[in-house]
């Protein structure tokens, strides 16, 4: 009797051990799977960076450096770094600072860089305050019934294709700017940034609202219990607590703005000259790629890849500095 008992006990112990080992194995396998998934993003960034850089390498060497040599030797101009810096560096500086885009001779990216920065900056300036305040409205002020209508509406705004925004901008906003500011052409940085600011609203609102709602209710209750007003609580307790999420929304919004192509092509005029003001036409890095990629070959194509790399560097710098900022504040 007792022997049997011991045996059964031993058996069940072994069973348990086995099943716990199996469980451990499954746990480990899934852990590995999750880790692997997380690395797909990393791998993508590396592959994208590698291919873009590889394709863009010939541009500074064969246009910038050759051009610098020509300008120095044939036209007697002085080019920064010529003669003592490596060709690639001279070429890169030449590309980034030259304001003449005239393929197949000159590939100056300065007007496009200025256009992209101006349009994005202005769009963020106009779009982010409206977006964050709307997020506050949704998370804190609006009654549930209003939220139930507004949130799907804003998700719809996110789903409207950029081509539609461009179409709208072309037919409505461009003529409006012509009338209001009395300028010869309304196709301008301002038109571009108005369209962009509407386009980034859904991203800014969705992410900001999520993070505002994620603030623990104790914060709100504590502040209100101390006699603070609802508005005071929102601006002095909730927003600081949700700051990292709101900044994420702003980054994603900026990313959308700086990367927008089709809408911008339709409303900004695409003039490859240095813009003189916000009511002047301009071209962005993205628009230039989209307009010329279909027929560009050789060095010209490489120069367009180089525009892609400039966009990439811009985004990396932006993300890096915001990550740094968030880390400092988290301490």
């Amino acid at each position: 009797m007792s022997e049997v008992n011991v045996l059964v006990q031993k058996d069940s112990a072994q069973e348990e051990l086995k099943s716990s080992r199996r469980r451990d194995f499954i746990e480990h396998a899934f852990h590995a799977l999750f880790l692997l998934s997380a690395f797909i993003g990393v791998a993508s960034v590396i592959t994208i960076g590698f291919f873009l850089v590889k394709e863009s390498l010939s541009a500074p060497l064969y246009t910038g450096a050759d051009l610098a040599r020509y300008l120095v030797e044939e036209e007697g101009q002085s080019i920064f770094g010529y003669g003592w810096l490596p060709d690639g560096v001279v070429g890169t500086i030449q590309m980034l600072t030259n304001s003449t885009w005239a393929p197949p001779a000159m590939y100056g990216l300065a007007p496009m860089i200025a256009g992209s920065l101006a349009a994005t900056g202005l769009a963020v300036l106009m779009g982010v305050p409206v977006g964050v305040l709307t997020a506050i409205f949704l998370a804190e002020i609006a009654p549930q019934r209003v939220v139930n209508v507004m949130r799907p509406a804003i998700e719809l705004l996110a789903g409207i294709p950029s081509v539609v925004y461009g179409f709208f901008g072309l037919v409505v906003i461009v003529p409006l700017i012509e009338t209001v500011f009395d300028v010869p052409s309304g196709a301008s940085i301002l038109a571009g940034s108005v369209v962009l600011s509407i386009m980034i609203l859904p991203t800014v609102i969705a992410v900001s609202e999520t993070s505002l709602r994620a603030v623990p209710p104790q914060y709100r209750e504590g502040s209100l219990a101390l006699g603070a007003s609802k508005i005071y609580t929102i601006f002095n307790v909730l927003i600081p607590a949700a700051r990292s999420g709101i900044l994420t929304g702003v980054i994603l919004g900026m990313a959308r703005a700086v990367g927008e192509t089709m809408a911008i092509i339709m409303v900004m005029g695409n003039t490859p000259a240095m813009p003189q003001g916000v009511l002047d036409s301009a071209i962005t890095l993205t628009a230039n790629i989209a307009l010329e990629m279909s027929y560009a070959t050789g060095v010209h194509a490489s120069a367009l890849y180089a525009s892609g790399v400039v966009l990439l560097v811009f985004v990396m710098l932006l993300n890096g500095s915001l990550m740094y900022l968030n880390r400092e504040k988290a301490k």
Binding site: A102, A105, V171, S185, N270, T271, Y295, A301
Partner: protein
């Protein structure tokens, strides 16, 4: 660019692999401004013979390359193709002519410009309508993207070229706005009182005003008798690798039936 050729090749193999229509598949690629005409010809031809025609419009230069490399059966270019651009065995066939209309807003008081005035406007040397006899208002010049065959044709005809660092580049002012299609130019010119643009003659309608050039009306008849100065040819190119069933398609385009479609679409028949 090697990559692009490889891409085009991949594209072509895609089409042949995915073709569900019985019969042969004829591949045509090149000038973007020829695709709308070519697609109509292609579809009519497919319905007639059962041979499928795939049309891609990456641009005239790509069309010349495709004909040289044999990546497409037929290449299309909407500009004069120089001898130096093609390889031995590649034939050029003019399938139609196209006038380029210089268009302005219907309210603009200008009726006529000389080719020199148009050229100066696009170089940025004339920037006010008063300088060409119009009202005192700044000119908003609208050009096409550099991939456009219409732009290439326009630059050729008006010698809008300059030399920078030993290379020939476009002389169109960087302050001219760039539109990414005939339709976009038309929309801008139809909307903005100060705008000037250029589009295929076949696409002009009442939303814009086509100017007389050197006193000649922008009319199909004037392109045909070669009195209208801003005109160009639509060129097809076939190479040694072009199969007979593709040659048959070219012959059909040049036949009375094909040329009738050309005329119906607003272009000027080659014959």
């Amino acid at each position: 660019m090697k990559k692009f050729a490889a891409g085009a090749l991949a594209l072509m193999s895609m089409f042949t692999a995915s073709s569900v229509v019985a019969g042969e598949t004829i591949t045509v690629s090149g000038s973007n401004s020829m695709t709308s005409l070519m697609e109509v010809l292609a579809e009519t031809y497919t319905n007639k013979t059962g041979n499928f025609v795939e049309v891609q419009g990456p641009g005239s230069s790509a069309g010349i390359r495709a004909a040289n490399q044999g990546t497409s059966h037929i290449g299309m270019a909407s500009r004069a193709v120089a001898d130096s651009e093609i390889e031995a065995g590649v034939e050029r066939i003019i399938m139609a002519n196209d006038g380029i209309a210089i268009v302005v807003h219907p309210n603009n008081t200008i009726e006529n410009l000389t080719t020199e005035q148009v050229s100066k406007i696009y170089r940025g040397e004339i920037s006010n309508w008063a300088e060409v006899g119009g009202e005192r208002a700044p000119i908003v010049a609208v050009t096409r993207d550099t991939a456009s065959g219409t732009r290439a044709g326009f630059e050729d005809v008006l010698s809008l070229k300059q030399t920078i660092a030993g290379k020939k580049v476009s002389a169109i002012s960087p302050r001219a706005q760039v539109a990414n299609g005939n339709g976009m130019v038309k929309t801008t010119a139809g909307q903005n009182q100060n705008a000037i643009g250029y589009i295929s003659l076949g696409t002009v309608d009442e939303s814009v005003k086509a100017l007389d050039i050197n006193g000649v009306d922008a009319l199909v008849a004037n392109v045909q008798n070669q009195s209208y100065p801003v005109a160009r040819s639509f060129v097809l190119m076939t190479g040694p690798k072009t199969p007979d069933y593709a040659h048959a398609f070219v012959e059909w385009i040049l036949s009375a039936e094909g040329q009738e479609i050309v005329a119906k679409k607003g272009y000027v028949p080659a014959k």
